[in-house]
């Protein structure tokens, strides 16, 4: 993938290196972390967080945090998110220390298990408190792993969505599509890890690579911001003759992309094209033109390009976007995107060691105040996080009814012991008062469902299903080959 060579000297802009940490939570998280290490991620600290000492010991991460020494005694959580949650709470200080001094924190976790589901939201919370931007890579379990795990995963996912700045969610089931049917099961899991690793690395590269047209945090978050949304991510690299086309095709082939079909619904699409010194303008033009066919006219394309000597004659394309959750397809940030969404949060310098919970609320709410006044629209992420993270925790203490946006967290934290299971109706009341949706209602265009109507003239005949495929659907559609 990305070749590393130590003797390469960075061009100017060196001072812009952003401290990044990649945190793997739980077993699946550390697997993904290992993969990231093996694939090579430069200029990022790697932190493994787990309850299971054995798994932690085998991790290749430089920094390891064992959580829940008292709760689990060095064993795993046995798939109980409650335990994972308690473990994380118990070791909150250690986690906080591990996360300090990073502006961007990636959290990798496999949802559905104990540690991943239980601890990841806490870690994300602590990371946010530390003032970092948090991007979560979450894998959802295979459907064969059972309903219960799926439910646990979904609950955690919705919590992470509330806490983190962005959640990039990989459905393991979809990974299956990328693995040959006869490949071993370890390969299926490895594919998920590899996809995570690839995504993390390309995002890091995206931000850190000195660009001709730079892509910064602001662009990244413009592309990623959506509530409970679905993250679209694609990365492709090619060095063939037709590398612009091939790289794009590859990027669109990513399981999170759904062959670019999803892009049609996105309001913002971030594209970075990187290549060696040989990259030509016309290549970039071709590529962007092709990409343009996949998106709507009013989609904002955040374009960045970078020339990187290490790329040799390869050309890579990274596409990042997000879809709003189904009930709110109308892009909520139509005008926000034209200016920097969210300043890379300053608090690290103001407050290097945010150790007390109260501090975080100040930071969050304070920052929210700033941005609000400048933009006139509440930042949905910031708005959600205080409520989102606290409500579920205080659930067991019935004397405290769901608080208005600014509760005094000092009281809440200690009470916040068990019960990870978030009642479904809880987050909703917070969401509802969100303003300014109707305003953009005209942007809500139903995208015609393409899939089921493609049997053409065989519509009314008996379907021909062989090996699980409906052969009446054109082959090129089933094989995701773009023909025009």
């Amino acid at each position: 993938m990305i070749q590393l060579s130590k003797n390469y000297s960075l061009p100017e802009r060196q001072e812009e290196i952003i401290p990044i940490k990649v945190v793997g939570v739980g077993g699946a998280g550390s697997n993904a972390l290992d993969r990231i290490v093996l694939d090579g991620l430069e200029r990022a600290d790697l932190v493994a967080i787990n309850t299971d000492v054995q798994s932690l010991a085998s991790s290749v991460a430089a920094h390891k945090v064992q959580i829940g020494r008292a709760v689990t005694r060095g064993l795993g959580t046995g798939g109980d998110p409650e335990l994972g949650y308690q473990a994380a709470i118990e070791s909150a200080d250690e986690i906080r220390q591990a996360l300090v001094d990073a502006r961007l924190i990636f959290i990798c976790a496999g949802l559905g298990g104990g540690t991943g589901s239980g601890a990841a939201p806490v870690v994300a919370q602590l990371a946010r408190e530390a003032g970092s931007l948090v991007i979560v890579f979450a894998t959802l379990p295979f459907s064969f792993e059972g309903k219960r795990r799926a439910v646990q995963a979904q609950e955690t996912l919705s919590r992470l969505n509330e806490i983190a700045n962005a959640v990039i969610c990989f459905e393991n089931d979809r990974m299956g599509d990328m693995v040959a049917p006869k490949a071993g099961i370890h390969q299926a899991f490895a594919v998920a890890d590899m996809t995570i690793s690839q995504s993390a690395r390309s995002i890091v590269n995206l931000i850190q690579r000195p660009g001709l047209i730079r892509i910064g945090f602001d662009d990244l978050f413009a592309a990623l911001r959506s509530q409970n949304g679905r993250c679209l991510f694609g990365f492709g690299e090619s060095d063939s003759d037709n590398r612009a086309h091939d790289a794009l095709t590859q990027a669109l082939k990513n399981p999170l992309m759904d062959r670019g079909r999803m892009l049609a619904e996105a309001a913002h699409v971030l594209v970075q094209v990187a290549g060696g010194p040989g990259m030509t303008l016309s290549e970039v033009e071709i590529l962007m033109q092709e990409l343009g066919k996949h998106v709507r006219d009013n989609t904002q394309i955040l374009f960045g390009t970078a020339v990187d000597g290490r790329m040799g004659n390869r050309l890579s394309v990274t596409i990042i976007s997000s879809l709003a959750a189904e009930e709110e397809i109308a892009p909520q940030s139509e005008f926000v995107a034209s200016e920097p969404i969210q300043e890379p949060p300053p608090p690290i310098w103001e407050e290097p060691q945010p150790s007390e919970p109260p501090a975080k609320i100040d930071i969050l709410s304070g920052r929210r105040g700033d941005t609000d006044s400048s933009r006139g629209e509440p930042d949905p992420i910031a708005e959600e996080s205080p409520a989102g993270d606290l409500i579920p925790f205080q659930q067991p203490a019935p004397e405290e009814t769901p608080p208005p946006p600014l509760p005094s967290p000092a009281i809440k934290k200690p009470v916040a012991m068990p019960r990870l299971i978030v009642p479904k109706q809880k987050p909703l009341p917070v969401k509802e008062p969100k303003p300014a949706k109707e305003k953009y209602a005209q942007a809500k265009q139903e995208v015609l469902q393409f899939e089921p109507v493609t049997r053409g003239r065989f519509e009314k005949s008996e379907p021909t299903i062989v090996e699980g495929q409906d052969l009446d659907v054109p082959t090129f559609l089933r094989k995701n080959i773009r023909v025009k």
């Binding site: 493609t454 053409g456 065989f458 009314k460 008996e462 062989v466 052969l471 054109p474 090129f476 023909v483």
Partner: protein, 397 residues
């Protein structure tokens, strides 16, 4: 003798006569575009009947023969096949195998469970075994105690086959027999020598792809995949967003299964109905669509065939026939995928209308005549013929 094939894209009627020397002369071919047929099966009875009538009238005019009874080809995804062995023990007091034993062993081979709604279409003898001696071709008169026989049994859903028969009977014409279409095609596409060497016949028609595999002179595998030329057309129509009729024409005139054979950016100019220049289409795009579909059909067939090992014994290679075999480069693609020589083939060893039998579109209909000839030659020998279901036909290889 008349062969009638109710295809998905066209209905064709071939009238032929059997010469005393065993050859067949084609007297006339009638055809009519088919409507109301999808994937080899009738979906609109009335319309299909009209089309069959048209085709029959056409054939009567061209051949100057009054058509009374026909052999009908059956296709459709419901047709399945398997191999089974029947076994009879001769009574203690007799050790010479006679005709009755042959019938018995056939009945015993059929004593297998096929799904309740299904009916036997063919039981084709592969080999006899007498007291463990393999590869006996004609056991009558041989001495032995135990007679076994391997049969290739083709069966399909009874009611669906009956629909075809009813459609013909309403005309009214008599149905002499119903023949699995690939079996009929193979009769004229392959020579006996090729059957012995081992050959795979793939009959790609409008709605279905039928295949039959001969090894050692005997049918080993056969079946139907309900994907055919219509699917290619449909794909082209959807991929290029042009109407079906246009897509069909484009497929026939320009389509090719070979990729990378055209200049980059080479385009085809579509003329609209008034003759004015319309849409431009990239040739490579068209070819990709066709290639994907046809390639997939072959891949699926290959996978199906590889479930048993017979495909490895095809010395003569692959013979592609049927209307869709006229696609450019289809033999190359088949050869590539199956990794053996592939040919586009049409009916052989006929006399009469050359244009008819040299067209792979008519392979099945002509094959029906050949089949009829073989059956009729058998008939004096007292084999049970004339029952549409549960035919006891074994002379045909």
């Amino acid at each position: 003798m008349v062969g009638l094939e109710i295809g998905t894209s066209k209905i064709c009627v071939v009238v032929g006569e059997s010469r005393p020397d065993g050859t067949i002369k084609i007297l006339g071919v009638g055809q009519a575009p088919s409507r109301g047929v999808r994937k080899g099966e009738i979906v609109d009875f009335e319309t299909a009947m009209k089309c069959v009538h048209e085709a029959v009238v056409d054939a009567e005019q061209k051949s100057d023969v009054m058509i009374r009874s026909v052999y009908v080809a059956a296709a459709g995804s419901h047709i399945q096949s398997f191999n089974n062995r029947g076994c009879v023990l001769l009574p203690e007091d007799r050790d010479e195998i006679d005709d009755q034993d042959i019938e018995d062993v056939k009945i015993s081979a059929r004593e297998v469970s096929i799904p309740a709604p299904n009916a036997f279409l063919h039981s084709i003898i592969q080999h006899y075994h007498v007291d463990g001696q393999d590869g006996v071709l004609s056991p009558v008169g041989m001495l032995g105690q135990k007679l076994e026989a391997d049969f290739h049994i083709i069966h399909g859903v009874r009611t669906r086959i009956q629909n075809t028969i009813r459609c013909v009977k309403e005309l009214p014409l008599d149905v002499e027999d119903v023949v699995f279409s690939a079996l009929a095609s193979a009769q004229v596409v392959l020579t006996q020598h090729q059957k012995n060497l081992g050959a795979l016949v793939i009959d790609i028609g409008g709605g279905t792809t039928d295949y039959i595999l001969y090894v050692d002179g005997a049918v080993k595998q056969s079946g139907v995949l309900a994907v055919g030329g219509d699917h290619v057309t449909n794909d082209v129509s959807m991929g290029l967003r042009i109407p079906m009729a246009r897509a069909e024409k484009l497929k026939i005139e320009e389509g090719s299964c070979i990729l990378g054979n055209c200049l980059p950016g080479e385009t085809i100019l579509l003329k609209d109905d008034s003759g004015f220049a319309g849409k431009e289409i990239e040739r490579e795009t068209l070819n990709t669509i066709v290639h994907m579909r046809v390639g997939e059909v072959f891949e699926l067939l290959k996978r199906t065939l590889e479930e048993e090992s017979f495909i490895n014994y095809t010395g003569a290679g692959i013979f592609i026939t049927g209307g869709c075999s006229l696609l450019n480069g289809i033999d190359h693609l088949a050869g590539e995928i199956f990794e053996m020589p592939a040919h586009v083939a049409h009916a052989q060893t006929m006399s009469g209308l050359t244009s008819a039998f040299e067209n792979p579109q008519f392979s099945t209909a002509i094959g029906l005549i050949k089949y009829a000839q073989a059956v009729q030659a058998d008939r004096p020998r007292g084999r049970g013929i004339g029952r549409i279901f549960g035919k006891f036909f074994s002379g045909m290889r």
